[in-house]
Amino acid sequence: MSIVLDAPRLVMSRPVLEINNVSKSYGDVHALHDVSARAYPGEVLGIVGESGSGKSTLLRMLNLEETPDRGTYSLDLPEVEGNLFDLDRFARRMLCATRIGIVYQNPHLGLLMKHSSSGNVAERLLVAGERSFAVLREKAQTALDASEFPLGRMDAPPIELSGGMQQRVQLAKAIALEPALLLLDEPTTGLDVSVQALVLDTLKRLQQDREITMVIVSHDLGVIRTLADRVMVMRCGEVVEIGLVDQIFQDPQHPYTQQLVHAKL
């Protein structure tokens, strides 16, 4: 008698984020040239490269703040289909407000510095249509708590907070609506090492608890190595190498990646 075991069923996961052949020029300067990338559910995609390599331009594209000269961008969401670059301004704004979270390097870009920290988080909920004061307070508190922000200071304006605290408020604002995609633009740059470690711990825990798909841009290879599952290396607007984080750091193939990794070491 033979026992027949069912083979484990393999399900191919669709990428949450997919960009194809994205190019952008500013006059004669080619900021991005034929950039393609994917990020899968719960994955952290790190983007590294020198200054001017196109990392931040790409992140702005992913946040629909800019439109490329050509290329496509899609998110695996039930409410949108097709190329997101074709959406009108209103649809883009609603999508960014509800499904894409972003943490900027400079908190001034992401926060209203003189409003309360809870108000900054509540703003995102208000744009999504929440109109109950009690629910706004509760949800803002939950998001700030998840970002490990001290709740005793939830009504303090960010201008009175330290850099690390400001980044936590940005993070709380970004995750308040359970985004499908979280974009992080140099989230720890400018913070001292101990605060950097705390912010990275928070990001790591959030990623594990909520399985949010993240795209993180950083100069700091240590940050990318700590957080990312896969790494995309960019140079002069082009992708020179993509691979798993260990592969990139231990066995870089492209000369530029080798130079970058060794420069770090």
């Binding site: 301004r89 209103f90 704004r93 209203l112 409003h115 309360s116 809870s118 108000g119 509540a122 703003e123 208000l126 744009v127 109109r131 109950s132 004061f133 009690a134 706004l136 009504d155």
Partner: protein, 304 residues
């Protein structure tokens, strides 16, 4: 042949101070603003013999609508007899030949600064409100180009955020006058600096309200039977000034918006803000034949 044979004797070509094209433009913009309730329409605000900021927007609309067969009432902060109200009333009567009155019930056209009369207005009446700052988004977005985009997108999250901040910091909504209100479920407008007491009077009102800012060159309107809803959170009700129990020291009327008059001993007395309502109440108390109209508020409460 002499000069008089070649020319017509002088006669007024236009009345109401403004030239024909100015009035035509204003009528078109009034129609546009009625068609899109609460939406600000730009117009070429003309010079009138009054300083900008003193009601030139309201005056231009009133001059456009004025005619000899119309009866005009002018209110300044509730009073018919202030210098500003008297000057505007006299000026319009002189250049447009309108009849004038202080009685809300007799007026066809009411130009007002910062108040809506306490007596209910009818379908055949028009209220013109003078507006200093027509842009409700200005406190949250100083860039007017972006503010216009925000209106186009109905992006009013920042307005709610302002209320949220007031509740967090003070435990209550601190916005006194110019309370931002959603018109016809679409555009947020500032209803000019009328007190919160007056905002509910605009909701589903029978009369047409035209709001005009001369300095800012913007006109907007609340057509009859249009929803005007103050921005509030679903669990924080809209509150008007607590004047329901105050009694007017001169007329004895009660349950209307009052002016506070500080006294030397530190206490205050109150006078009804709508001066004509006070006068009519006194006349009625003295037995004179005077018609007191129906009021918006009954016993200090706005009926639902």
């Amino acid at each position: 042949m002499n000069l008089s044979a070649l020319t017509k004797p002088w006669e007024a070509m236009s009345y109401s101070f403004l030239d024909g094209s100015a009035k035509r433009e204003l009528r078109r913009k009034i129609l546009k603003s009625v068609a899109v309730p609460g939406c600000q329409m730009p117009y070429a605000s003309r010079e009138v013999p009054m300083a900008r900021g003193w009601g030139t927007g309201g005056l231009q609309v009133t001059l456009t609508l004025a005619a000899p067969q119309k009866t005009l009432k002018v209110i300044d902060q509730g009073a018919d007899d202030s210098v500003n109200a008297a000057s505007i009333r006299r000026f319009i009567a002189r250049v447009a030949g309108t009849q004038t009155t202080m009685d809300t019930l007799r007026a066809d056209l009411i130009q007002s600064r910062h108040r809506i009369p306490e007596e209910v207005m009818r379908e055949d009446q028009v209220l013109v409100l003078q507006v200093p700052n027509p842009e409700p988004l200005r406190p949250v977005q100083p860039n007017m180009s972006i503010a216009r985009q925000m209106h186009a997108d109905a992006d009013y999250g920042r307005m709610w955020l302002q209320l949220y901040e007031q509740l967090v910091r003070s435990g209550r909504v601190m916005q006194g006058a110019s309370y931002p209100s959603l018109v016809h479920g679409r555009h947020v407008m500032t209803p000019s600096p009328i007190p919160r007491w007056d905002v509910p009077k605009l909701h589903m009102a029978k009369h047409l309200t035209i709001l005009s800012a001369g300095r800012e060159k913007r006109i907007f309107a609340v057509p009859p039977f249009t929803r005007v809803e103050p921005l509030v959170f679903s669990d924080v009700p809209y509150k008007v000034e607590d004047h329901a129990d105050l009694i007017c020291s001169r007329s004895g009327t009660r349950g209307f918006f009052m002016n506070e008059i500080p006294l030397e001993d530190g206490s205050s007395s109150f006078e009804v803000s709508d001066s004509e309502w006070g006068v009519k109440t006194i006349q009625s108390n003295e037995g004179e034949a005077v018609t007191l109209g129906e009021t918006w508020y009954k016993n200090g409460e706005m009926p639902k």
